[in-house]
């Protein structure tokens, strides 16, 4: 944990020094000290906007996870559906969210739904691909072994392909969850009643650059916390993996 903190401290130090030395106006670039000061002053507003963002992130990512799991399992069981659906997975990733998000607001209003759709579109692909490739990473000879033990397709999945996919799943989970926070903020930025995204948008319009950056700071903290949480869950879900890696 020390090296990243050192890098951050040095960068923030340079930023603080440069703003003071070149006398930059805070509307253009506030000093880090001012960002923290104003953020603390507006902590109530930040907090009331953080809660909806967390809710949207949680619901959106949960929906994305369920859809990704269902489709990845379906694709694993059916070669025909694999050929049919995998290109669509890729296509889902090429949708320009920046163009679609405002349309989603027009279609579904300012509620939860358009934001859930944005988060699902952004995070579905890495999770689904991580799972599909994880299932396929199972050793061919191992599948011969379990079949020689009398396993059909379902037992082969349960005893071999599913546990074999876990390392790959957790990697894609980490990628997905960081995208989910960004996706939530972006969806709110386009239109919402509350949330860090709409908060940033409003503060930008009133030239409160310091408060925009304070909200960015909160977003980053959430992402890092959720990222760390996946390691905790992974440790609980597959305690064997860490030990395996330690031994090389």
């Amino acid at each position: 944990m020390v090296p990243p903190l050192v890098v951050v401290a040095v960068l923030v130090g340079i930023w603080q020094w440069a703003v003071t030395a070149f006398d930059v106006r805070p509307q253009v670039l506030p000093s880090p000290l001012r960002v923290v000061e104003q953020g603390w002053l507006f902590r109530d507003a930040l907090w009331t906007n953080t809660v909806p963002t967390l809710q949207v992130t949680a619901v959106g990512f949960a929906v994305s996870l369920v859809v990704a799991w269902v489709l990845a399992v379906v694709v694993d069981f059916s070669p025909w559906l694999r050929r049919a659906l995998l290109p669509l997975f890729v296509a889902s990733q090429t949708i320009p969210i920046i163009a679609i998000a405002p349309l989603l607001i027009i279609w579904f209003g300012f509620g939860l739904l358009p934001k859930v759709v944005v988060i699902a579109l952004v995070t579905f692909f890495p999770v689904a691909i991580g799972l599909v490739e994880g299932f396929s990473s199972a050793d061919r000879e191992a599948s011969n072994l379990v079949r020689s033990m009398g396993a059909g397709r379902w037992k082969e999945f349960r005893y071999l392909r599913l546990p074999a996919a876990m390392p790959s799943f957790f990697t894609s989970l980490r990628i997905g969850i960081t995208y989910a926070v960004t996706g939530a903020v972006f969806a709110e930025y386009v239109g919402a009643r509350a949330g860090l995204g709409i908060f940033m948008n409003l503060q930008k319009n009133s030239f409160r650059t310091d408060l925009v950056l304070a909200a960015v700071l909160v977003t980053a903290a959430i992402s890092v916390a959720l990222f760390g949480l996946t390691f905790l869950v992974q440790r609980l879900a597959m305690p064997w993996y860490a030990a395996e890696r330690r031994r090389g």
């Binding site: 000879e141 011969n144 379990v146 020689s148 009398g150 037992k155 005893y159 071999l160 597959m238």
Partner: protein
């Protein structure tokens, strides 16, 4: 474990994959409690033969019988070349895998595997992870996983091929000892002529692909055998000469 010992007979088995003929009329026989080795050049189709027996590969022609009746894959305990122990299972749960897949409850499967840890030299490693075991122990765990399924005939595909020669010698002596204790009927694929002579009642020599039986050599030496004895050396020389003519 059950003590009924079976005999297995393979008759005229042939298999082609597309236009690649792999097995051409392979026949062999192992009596109750016998160990029969299959040797032959690399890639000659030995593993395909085991695939047929284990029910993984459908043969084009030929029959497999156990005790005179038609055989199914469920009668064979198959041990592939790699140990394929799953890192997400403990050693005990790995050895219980076959029973769990066969529908035996987890607790009962463990209860049946546990007593074998002592004779298999794995006592005390029940809750370890496979990565904590040495190469020889991993192979013994893989063999335990195979025999605990209580199948009629064991198919061992180069079980000691990946081990260093010192460990391999120890494992061969150990296999000879547990086999005489449990009396399994075993088919063994090996590249090691010395191993074949040391362990087998009979050695079946396959030719290059498409595999056909080129010779069957009876090893009627008394047990326990001495690997360096003149009689054993003579059989080794005979097999080596046979393999050179292929």
């Amino acid at each position: 474990m059950r003590c009924v010992v079976r005999e297995v007979r393979v008759d005229g088995v042939a298999k082609r994959f597309g236009d690649r003929e792999v097995l051409d009329d392979v026949s062999l026989h192992a009596g109750p409690g016998e160990l029969v080795s299959v040797i032959g050049p690399s890639g000659c189709g030995k593993s395909t033969l085991f695939g047929v027996l284990a029910g993984l590969v459908e043969p084009d022609r030929g029959t497999v019988t156990v005790d005179g009746g038609p055989a199914t894959g469920a009668m064979f305990g198959y041990m592939p070349q790699k140990d394929l122990l799953f890192p997400w299972r403990t050693v005990l749960d790995n050895t219980a895998l076959g029973l769990e897949i066969a529908g035996v409850g987890r607790r009962e499967a463990r209860r049946r595997a546990e007593p074998l840890f002592e004779p298999f030299g794995l006592a005390g490693f029940e809750t370890s992870r496979p990565s904590e075991l040495s190469g020889g122990m991993r192979q013994r765990a893989a063999l335990l996983r195979t025999v605990v399924q209580d199948r009629d005939v064991l198919l061992l595909d180069e079980p000691f091929g990946a081990l260093d020669s010192l460990t391999r010698t120890g494992m061969q002596e150990w296999l000879e000892e547990v086999r005489s204790r449990f009396g399994w009927t075993v088919l063994l694929i090996t590249h090691d002529i010395r191993e074949a002579v040391f362990l087998s009642d009979r050695v079946v020599v396959l030719g290059p692909r498409p595999a056909r039986v080129r010779a069957v050599v009876e090893i009627d030496l008394p047990r326990p055998r001495e690997p360096a004895s003149p009689a054993a050396a003579a059989r080794e020389a005979e097999l080596l000469a046979l393999l050179r003519t292929l």
